[in-house]
């Protein structure tokens, strides 16, 4: 090879080598240890950019940050630092806001009054007194049975996980030709939104709008998208078109509330029990440079009439609050009311649904 050509090639290769070596740290940024100050600022800033309820809850986030930053910087251990972050996030008073440090502690989140409300719901009472022949579906996510030959019962304890919506079809098939089904979602803390909507789809004959969401889409605390409709669509091989009673209580949160929201726009559905917990935030997960994760609410969800139910909950059509006295007497008042209404012997007079 001639000398000039060799020199040229060397120059080109040298350039490529310099570029390759420099690419990572120079153009993308360094990796490595981060300080508590950097981590704190990342959490504060990211929450500031994405959290959806600052205005609704009248939270002064600057003030919160100013209070907790010195405490975070003074933390002497990772667990102490995680504790300060957790305290700061609890100021949002939102059950969807949590932090999960790696290797120091488990997830911590705000505990609302609904979390600690006694609901007096026990599955044991249901299966002992009202639905004595219950079975689990194949995947074990649902329990079902019949309260009498015409009234079926399905217990959905959670919407966690995914891919098991078809278990409701199995339950509907096994219950035979019941005229009414009681769907019990009491003490259901939520899970996957799509799963909840898919299960609700087994009870509708056509697509219906059940609510709206507006996503945070800008740095201002009032920056949101327009109203995005949430719909429930017919799903499953055999939609149930008979009468449906949905049992709710104060410890229904998040996707369980989405399920209730979807069910209550279906004309054949009556919601019985107590108001739900009022956790509607649509959380997103975020990461920290040290590998910890946290989540914040990113949307505001509305009912079909565009009412916000965050912190308020969804009121039932028929209010039946379980009491300690009922519990002591072995009575599940909400389930009893639903069975009575299903069999045409109303012990509880339906009330109009209070405004959310």
């Amino acid at each position: 090879m001639k000398t000039p050509a060799r020199r040229t090639l060397r120059a080109v290769l040298f350039g490529a080598l310099v570029l390759a070596g420099a690419c990572g740290d120079t153009f993308v940024g360094p990796t490595g240890a981060v300080t508590h100050a950097q981590l704190f600022d990342e959490v504060w800033h990211s929450v500031d950019l994405h959290y959806s309820f600052f205005e609704l809850k009248q939270v002064d986030w600057n003030s919160v940050g100013g209070h907790f930053r010195p405490l975070a910087l003074a933390a002497r251990s990772e667990s102490e630092f995680a504790g300060v972050l957790s305290q700061m996030l609890r100021e949002l008073k939102d059950v969807h806001v949590s932090i999960t440090p790696v290797g120091t502690a488990s997830t911590t989140r705000y505990v609302s009054s609904s979390d600690t409300t006694r609901t007096y719901f026990t599955l044991d009472l249901v299966t002992r007194r009202y639905v004595v022949d219950t079975r689990l579906t194949t995947g074990g996510h649902l329990r079902y049975g019949t309260a009498n030959p015409d009234v079926g019962y399905v217990r959905i304890p959670s919407f966690a996980g995914g891919g098991w919506a078809s278990e409701i079809d199995e339950a509907l098939d096994r219950m035979g030709d019941v005229k009414t089904i009681i769907v019990d979602v009491r003490d259901n803390s939520g899970g996957q939104y799509k799963l909840a909507a898919s299960v609700a789809g087994r009870f509708t004959d056509r697509t219906r709008t059940f609510g709206y969401v507006r996503y945070r889409n800008g740095p201002g605390h009032g920056d949101f998208t327009g109203y995005n409709a949430e719909t429930v669509e017919p799903s499953g091989p055999r939609p149930f078109t008979g009468r449906v009673y949905v049992l709710t209580n104060r410890r229904d949160f998040s996707s369980a509330e989405d399920f209730v929201l979807a069910m209550r726009v279906i004309p054949t559905v009556t919601v019985v029990g107590d108001t739900t917990g009022g956790a509607s935030g649509g959380p997103i997960v975020r990461e920290l440079p040290n590998g910890w994760t946290y989540q914040v609410s990113e949307w505001i969800e509305y009912t079909a009439t565009k009412a916000i139910f965050e912190g308020v909950g969804l009121a039932p059509d028929v209010v039946v609050r379980s009491t300690k006295a009922d519990s002591d007497r072995g009575i599940d008042a909400a389930l009893q009311a639903a069975i009575d209404m299903a069999t045409g012997t109303p012990a509880v007079a339906p009330t109009s649904r209070p405004p959310s």
Partner: protein
């Protein structure tokens, strides 16, 4: 594969290919076109603050189709490159975090040779227009292993330079372009939130970077030949939630030539 290993491979590849090849002249009156298709391995380092403050990096596969047409002093370059990468975090998450990046870049550049061409080499400058899209499926390290999709797309216009040098029967060339102005679509959050395109006009102050390639073609006079390339693409987008990305790829392709030199 680290960036250093890729650089070393590039060096070996080019050095081996450059051995014992006779020089060749490229006259200012040549009329010819080259079309090549290539497949290669790629490495990307990336930080998209919209998805995560953690830097992710990893390998994948790149493919590309490149067209070069020379008419006297005018040179037209067009290329379409794409690929996918599996990226892992540069932080100790609980093991489930990851990203899958899918990228596509289209470049069209028109250049003009400058000055008298020295024997065996040439230099051209011109304008490059490009369209790019990067879609990141980000898998979070939470209990649900939730996945969100993020994207950044850009249409840009900027200067381009091209330089070639014949190396003993083969030819090496360098392509380089950088955006000066651009229209960038970078949604505020993941793509489920807003599906509509919301572009922002920016200058090189906010959308900066460069794209380039070092290509070596042994036996340049053959109708069908082999082409070895090292390609890179670096960009940074200044936003409330910035994006930084650096990709490089080594590829081998088949090139077909038309016309006369």
């Amino acid at each position: 594969m680290s960036t250093h290993k890729i650089a070393l491979m590039t060096a070996c590849l080019c050095a081996a290919a450059a051995q014992s090849l006779p020089a060749q002249l490229d006259t200012a009156h040549s009329r010819h076109s080259d079309l090549s298709v290539a497949l290669g391995v790629a490495h990307t380092e990336r930080l998209d603050a919209t998805a995560s403050p953690i830097r992710f990096g990893g390998q994948g596969v790149d493919f590309g189709a490149h067209y070069r047409r020379a008419r006297g002093a005018t040179l037209l370059l067009a290329s379409l490159d794409g690929g996918t990468r599996d990226l892992v975090p540069h932080a100790s998450t609980n093991g489930t975090a990851g990203e899958q990046l899918t990228s596509g870049v289209l470049h069209v550049a028109a250049l003009r040779r400058l000055g008298a061409q020295a024997a065996g080499s040439g230099f051209a400058v011109g304008v490059d227009a490009s369209a790019s899209i990067d879609v990141t499926a980000h898998r979070y390290a939470d209990a649900n292993k939730s996945v969100s999709n993020f994207l950044i797309g850009a249409l840009s216009l900027g200067p381009a330079v091209w330089w070639n040098h014949h190396l003993a029967g083969g030819g090496a060339h360098l392509e380089l372009s950088a955006p000066l102005i651009a229209l960038v679509d970078h949604p505020y959050s993941d793509t489920r939130i807003e599906s509509r395109v919301n572009v922002r006009p920016v200058t090189a102050r906010d959308f900066r970077g460069f794209t380039g390639a070092v290509v070596y073609t042994p036996a340049e006079r053959r109708r069908i030949g082999v082409e070895y390339a090292y390609r890179f693409r670096v960009f940074g987008y200044s936003d409330i939630q910035p994006v930084h990305s650096a990709s490089q790829a080594l590829s081998v392709g088949i090139v077909t030539r038309f016309g006369s030199r």
